[in-house]
């Protein structure tokens, strides 16, 4: 378990006091029941499919991860080293729960799974990510996605 009290004091303070955007709006999108939703994963773990360029630093764009990707193809290129990677090394679902989504779809708990999932590099300034996130929304809509689960590290 890691709560802030379990981290080195300086790191805990830095994380707790990290400057967050002060948004002027409070968007709230409603929709159908969960069993009708088409779900995509959007991670901020700096995930890349093996063979593609890793995130080099605080890149503001995103990488696409097809639903056909295999666990052995996914790498984590997040710039931060201050989070556990051993869980992801053993089981990609710790960060990228695609197998769990497949099971939920088979159980009809969710409607379906997106054709493509995505990853940003979470240490990037959110202001820099904004245009890419808004462009991503269009791609998600083209895939009929109406629910996104956001997975940080």
């Amino acid at each position: 378990m890691t709560r802030l009290t379990d981290l080195p004091p300086a790191q805990a303070q830095r994380l707790a006091e990290l400057e967050c955007p002060d948004f002027q709006t409070r968007p709230w999108v409603t929709g159908s029941s969960l069993s009708q939703r088409r779900v995509a994963i959007v991670s901020s773990a700096g995930l890349v499919v093996r063979g593609e360029d890793p995130f080099r630093g605080r890149d503001p764009d995103y990488r696409a991860i097809p639903a056909s990707a295999k666990p052995e193809e996914l790498l984590c290129s997040h710039i931060s080293i201050n989070f556990d990677r051993t869980g992801f090394q053993e089981d990609w679902n710790v960060v990228f729960p695609l197998d769990r989504l497949r099971e939920l779809a088979a159980d009809r708990a969710i409607g379906s799974i997106a054709q493509t999932h995505y990853s940003f590099m979470g240490a990037t300034d959110p202001v820099q990510m904004e245009p890419h996130a808004r462009e991503l929304a269009g791609r998600l809509k083209s895939d009929q996605v109406d629910a996104v689960i956001l997975s940080p590290v």
Binding site: T25, P27, V29, G57, D84, D91, N93, D99, P152
Partner: protein, 242 residues
Amino acid sequence: MGALGHYLEEEGIATVGISLIRPQTENTKPPRALWVPFELGRPFGPPSDPAFQKRVILAALRLLERDTGPVVIEDFPDDDPRATPDSTWRPPFVPTAVATGPAESLAARLEAEILLLRGAHERWVARHRRTTIGLSGLSISECARYVADWLRGKAPPSPREGFSAPLILRFAVDDVKAYCLEAAAAGTAKPSSRQLGDWLWNETAAGAAIHALRVALQASEDERLKLIVSNFMVPAARVRTG
């Protein structure tokens, strides 16, 4: 992560986020978030525990059916059972390495250790059918040689077009760490991340070499190299002072 949720929701797509740092989520005020009491890097909890992971993701997705909001922040009630140390776990044998001593000696021990761990790493790959090594684009022996040569003061050029030498050094260090940690977890025991980290940073030549490299290259005049070795090689909780 909360900001991404905000942007996507503004564009008309419903989102729910996992929250690992509750104060950040409270500040960002995303539409919906499930705070989980797991360590950083494990948003869906323990590895190889599908039932637990499914409870986490379902608890999050069900927030999409809430009638009232924003802002919805709920807490997941259960801790990660894999955060508990496994007393049956034994790391693979490597000669105990200390962070002091001549750089050449440490560099040589790093390269030897990579060979020594090969069998354990092959068992890891056979068991899990994957490895997370690969960011550098080099083989693990080449990674060890590249890191060792930096330690020897050679400042080797980048072997990969389009990637600077400091960036390849960062990725090679990431690959060496992944190799050692995967090898260490090759057996049937279920070590906690702390057990694995204690072994890597306190007992291996790889850990000692990365510590030594950080100290040595912090004296570099290359600001980019200095930034990388200072902040992106040794976790803050593992940096040795004094």
